[in-house]
């Protein structure tokens, strides 16, 4: 039980709480981004936070969380607005606008980063950690800041809930109702910046894109309702944050950010596979059960048709006996629709003479009636 002592570890507590906060904010905000087809905008905004981090550092003169967060928010929001402006005012498509904002802002960030390094400021060490995050360096005071931002953005989201929902699903209708559609769109887009600044310390600017997308995509598989989706996304975010942080703490030297992202990715894969109704596994099972039902009906039908006209004894079975047919024959016999007699001519199932019971005849007739009804 020695590993339990880790829960009393100060750093570990900070990291887990921080990761949970990150999940809590990025899940709900990401849900809106994903539904509004702006998944990659989160990527651009998080890359664009880098010059803000550097500017915040230059202005404050030290690695102060407050000024760094303000800087990141300003440049992140600026990149988002610039991207919207590029798409509206030029003939570039959305993807190119996102790519331009992402790469240029990041390049400015790199230039500023090297400028700070060149200026020989002693406290600049660790500024680079914002590329990948440095979860272990999280302080209690950072947590209060992150918690405050999370609380603020979730409150804002719940206040704007109806408007945001309408703008997400039917902007034209929202417009006819007289809602300030562009304002709400801009607000929803720039709010992603808030999630990004919470993630700065945890996963860094490079991997933040996945924290926006993954919980939302996972949640989308489990629910068709926006409200439920937002809650599930928050839950998925918290679970992946906490599990990533814990794995990182238990293994020595594995970075927290990538582990959080991988946990989220695994939850997405599981959700895609097993979520009820939408899950790929259920789809496959449904397909198989339909196939076997069809097979059973085919056998009933052919047996009913051949029983009167041909002798199975001389011709063998009136259909090819493969695996699925064998399964279907077995199932039908279990249900008492078929009986079989040994004829010794061939081994196993093929060596039997199959005939319908009176129950089977009735079933076959109802199948035929249904088929005839469908044809005519």
């Amino acid at each position: 039980m020695q590993w339990l002592s880790i829960f009393h570890d100060y750093t570990f507590q900070n990291v887990v709480i921080g990761a949970a906060l990150l999940g809590l904010i990025s899940g709900p905000l990401g849900s809106f981004a994903v539904l509004r087809r702006q998944s990659l905008l989160g990527d651009a905004i998080s890359h664009a936070a880098l010059p803000g981090v550097c500017l915040g550092f230059i202005i404050a003169g030290s690695r102060q969380m407050g000024s760094i967060i303000v800087g990141a928010m300003v440049t992140g929001a600026l990149a988002a607005l610039l991207m919207l402006a590029l798409t509206r005012m030029s003939r570039l498509k959305t993807d190119a606008s996102i790519g331009i904002c992402l790469s240029i802002f990041f390049a400015i960030g790199v230039v500023l980063l090297t400028y700070i390094q060149g200026s020989n400021n002693a406290s600049q060490a660790g500024l680079e950690s914002f590329l990948f995050g440095q979860a272990a360096a999280t302080l209690r005071s950072d947590l209060w800041l992150m918690g405050g931002i999370t609380l603020f953005s979730l409150t804002l989201l719940s206040v704007l809930w109806k408007q945001a929902k309408l703008v997400t699903f039917d902007p034209e209708f929202a417009h006819t109702l007289g809602l300030p559609v562009s304002l709400i769109e801009v607000l929803l887009t720039t709010m992603v910046t808030l999630a990004v600044v919470v993630g700065l310390q945890m996963v860094g600017v490079v991997l933040m894109a996945a924290m926006i997308v993954a919980p939302a995509v996972a949640a989308r598989q489990w629910s068709r309702h926006l409200g439920a989706m937002v809650f599930i996304a928050a839950g998925v975010g918290v679970v992946s944050g906490v599990s990533g942080a814990s794995i990182s703490a238990l293994s020595r030297g594995l970075a927290t950010g990538p582990l959080i992202i991988l946990s989220a990715s695994i939850i997405v894969l599981l959700s895609l596979a097993i979520a009820p109704q939408r899950g790929l596994l259920w789809g496959l099972l449904q397909h198989l059960s339909q196939q076997s039902q069809l097979r059973r009906r085919q056998i009933l039908y052919t047996l009913y048709k051949t029983q009167s006209t041909r002798d199975q004894e001389s011709h063998g079975l009136p259909f090819r006996l493969n695996f699925s047919a064998a399964v279907a024959l077995w199932q039908l016999r279990q249900r008492g629709l078929l009986v079989s007699q040994k004829t010794n001519r061939l081994p196993m199932l093929a060596g039997r003479r199959w005939s319908l019971t009176s129950l089977g005849v009735r079933e076959a007739q109802s199948v035929m009636a249904e088929l005839n009804g469908k044809i005519t």
Binding site: S39, A96, I104, A107, T114, V213, P258, L262, L272
Partner: protein, 301 residues
């Protein structure tokens, strides 16, 4: 003339920058036109995964293995993205946003695990340093040439060879994929070939500019060119011109302010893009505004 070029580190750094730009904007042009430019983002991040895997298998940090590995990783990224999107449960853009961070994370974790014996660290992976190309030299015809210059030269030549050979097909597949398919040109195979070239370009440019700045060189010059012209061949020329201009100006500004050379070159592509966005002759916002004002005046009369 050659002597001057090969004895000047400055000129060679600028040449590498320009070649990175020319090679990546050549493939980037098609991606921007097709609306797939964020695939460069995905590819450039996930080749980190490929580079680490190839390094663990062969212990080679550059060379043919890495190029082939990168091409395969690029294809893997696109394949996984399409696989996710084809389930119809995830939209294309969300699929991109899921696949590359996952691959990138695995790459970073592998770096963590084997950090002691891998020379690449996450810093160089992301940023690269074009100023250090001089550290890795080969000798060709009596001249000392940076390895990066040779590999970028080859990649540029291969990219343009591909584009010149399949110019008509690529043009058709870009602007009318449906027609290209009915005529039997297999646009998807062309597209995959293009993405393989994009990945090899990314890995060749990797040492010089890193994973993220590659995106700037691949997307920004073609986008600026797209705002300046309607002719496909002119887009290549303008893209190449912007690449050369930004690597020259970027180099001098970087030296003057003592900042990252690759980063400054990428920033300069952005500056040229802004110029095209504002002052482009036909699609720039100034000329759009003038045209709108003229139309209004004509209406008022």
């Amino acid at each position: 003339m050659l002597d001057v070029f090969f004895s000047s580190i400055e000129l060679q750094i600028m040449a590498v920058g320009a070649l990175v730009g020319i090679a990546s904007s050549a493939v980037g042009t098609f991606l921007v036109l097709r609306g797939n430019s964020m695939l460069t983002d995905a590819i450039s991040h996930s080749i980190v995964f490929g580079i680490v895997i190839v390094w663990l298998l062969t212990h080679q940090q550059s060379g043919w293995f890495q190029l082939v590995g990168a091409a395969l990783t690029g294809l893997l990224t696109v394949f996984l993205t399409e696989l996710l999107a084809n389930t119809k449960r995830v939209k294309q853009d969300a699929a991109i946003g899921l696949v590359f961070p996952a691959l990138f994370s695995i790459g970073v974790l592998l770096l963590n695990l084997y950090a002691n014996d891998v020379h690449i660290d996450t810093h160089t992976v992301l940023l690269g340093e074009i100023g250090f190309i001089w550290l890795d030299i080969t000798t060709i015809a009596g001249y000392n040439v940076p390895q990066a210059l040779v590999s970028m030269g080859i990649v540029t030549a291969v990219n343009y060879l591909f584009i010149i050979l399949f110019y008509k097909e690529l043009k058709l597949a870009t602007f009318d994929p449906a027609l290209a398919k009915t005529l039997g040109f297999a646009p998807s195979i062309l597209f995959y070939a293009l993405l393989m070239l994009t990945s090899t370009t990314a890995v060749a440019a990797f040492d010089a500019v890193g994973a993220v700045l590659f995106i700037a060189f691949a997307i920004v010059p073609p986008s600026a060119a797209y705002l300046l012209t309607d002719r496909l061949w002119l887009m290549f020329l303008i893209g190449a011109f912007i690449s050369v201009a930004s690597s020259v100006t970027g180099y001098y500004l970087a030296v003057r302010w003592n900042v990252s050379i690759g980063g400054m070159m990428a920033v300069m592509t952005g500056a040229f893009f802004v110029l095209a966005f504002i002052g482009g002759p036909r699609y720039g916002i100034v000329s759009q505004k003038i045209r709108r004002m003229n139309a209004r005046r004509a209406n008022a009369l």
